[in-house]
Symmetry: C2
Subunit: 282 residues, 2 copies
Amino acid sequence: MKQTESWIDECHQGVRYGLKGHTIHEENSGFQQITIIESQRYGKGLLLDGCWMTAELQEKQYHECLVHPALCSAAELKKILIIGGGDGGTARECLRHKEVQQVDLVEIDSRVVELSKEYLPQIGGNAWEDPRLKLNINDGVEWVAKSTKSSYDVVLVDSSDPSGPSEGLFNESFFKHCHRILRSGGVFGIQSESPESFHQIHIDIIRLIREIFEYADPLYGHVPMYPSGWWSWTFAAKDGSRYLNPYPNRAKEISKECEIWSTRWQKGAFESMPAFIERELN
Amino acid sequence: MKQTESWIDECHQGVRYGLKGHTIHEENSGFQQITIIESQRYGKGLLLDGCWMTAELQEKQYHECLVHPALCSAAELKKILIIGGGDGGTARECLRHKEVQQVDLVEIDSRVVELSKEYLPQIGGNAWEDPRLKLNINDGVEWVAKSTKSSYDVVLVDSSDPSGPSEGLFNESFFKHCHRILRSGGVFGIQSESPESFHQIHIDIIRLIREIFEYADPLYGHVPMYPSGWWSWTFAAKDGSRYLNPYPNRAKEISKECEIWSTRWQKGAFESMPAFIERELN
């Protein structure tokens, strides 16, 4: 029997973004409400606590932009840490880099992983079977606190907005641990919300990361399903703003199969800071 | 009596973008359905044939990006042509340039102008009283066909999507006239749709303009209320890609009061072409 199609919306500050489709699974995991939908436009999609996370045909605009600025510029790529990212998309993009030897994926909610594997297998792709992936169902805040100094080449924070299970991933203590566990020559990357719909959070994240790491810069892109569609990721490093300069050999290999990311796109995305943000940060 | 608040949406390809608010005026002008709303998040807004055009607190993201790349780089700014733009926002941004002596605003639908003046006076701002503005209620296609060769320093097309009254503003004949009436040293600019939600139209516009003008490039930005929020404007010129290089003195003066536009932002916005568009255009 064909399901009745209706609108599934995220509402934020008097604005809504909706996809036509139907819900195929919904549950409360104890951490959050998890909803899996089938949409007409973007295939299957995932919402956490009513907020759009990802969808099969709109996920590269997020995952490529979080992963490749970091992994194309870090000095080495032996050991990568992903906090969050239970849908597997960030891990999949990391594992496209052949130099990567180990990816620790630390997701607090096992049900996000299980449901993503079941309903959104394309997003994780080959990552779930890759022996380099170490899946840890664990609290990211505890994980970084317990990790050894200088133990990761890249640390990526792939979280939902700073409330609910992601609340502890946007404060000074957490960022200081990320800095501590990052090797010299390493790169830190985090989704840093919308300059439009989460304006103050966006500014606060950049300021805080700039205080802790010596070098940090936001990059601007587009994820239509997120509030305002205008999104950002912030990258940081200890030894100069190396994230601005992808290694040409890695970039050439990776961008061949990218939808969004290229060296050209990245250069523009770091430059395209709107005037109102530039004034506030200076 | 307080109006009941509900959602006003634009639906496009199984996606909807809605603002919470209420309709304050609606009519059919003969050319199109015109709707004026009051929204909680972005103040008063305008829809034409059910599509979002502009809103008081979300209009700079469109108008600054269409106007300043052209007006900061054209050799002279004596005479400017705007096709469409009945809300007055493009004219207002043009008239901020003190070198401008005349702006011909050619809008086909007098009711768009009248209702914008009545309900959205902030968008036109001082433009409506500026003696340099010449308002012409006329068909833009006819206007460019009848205009003298090399009579404009800048030609801007500020239209709705290529259907209804805007259909004739996206074809070879129209662009050839725009090229003909542009002075050497002049710059042509047009909103060129979303690379995501109007993908093929976006590609077609760029290709066609590149055939007619020797130099043309798209610039990417964000207008949350438009389909996907990811938008583009394409600029063209006859004597090299001069639109890439704003005159520093003009840029400094103009960007002081811009929300989005700056020389830095523009540089990034031209560079940030996504990989899938770059592959298609090459």
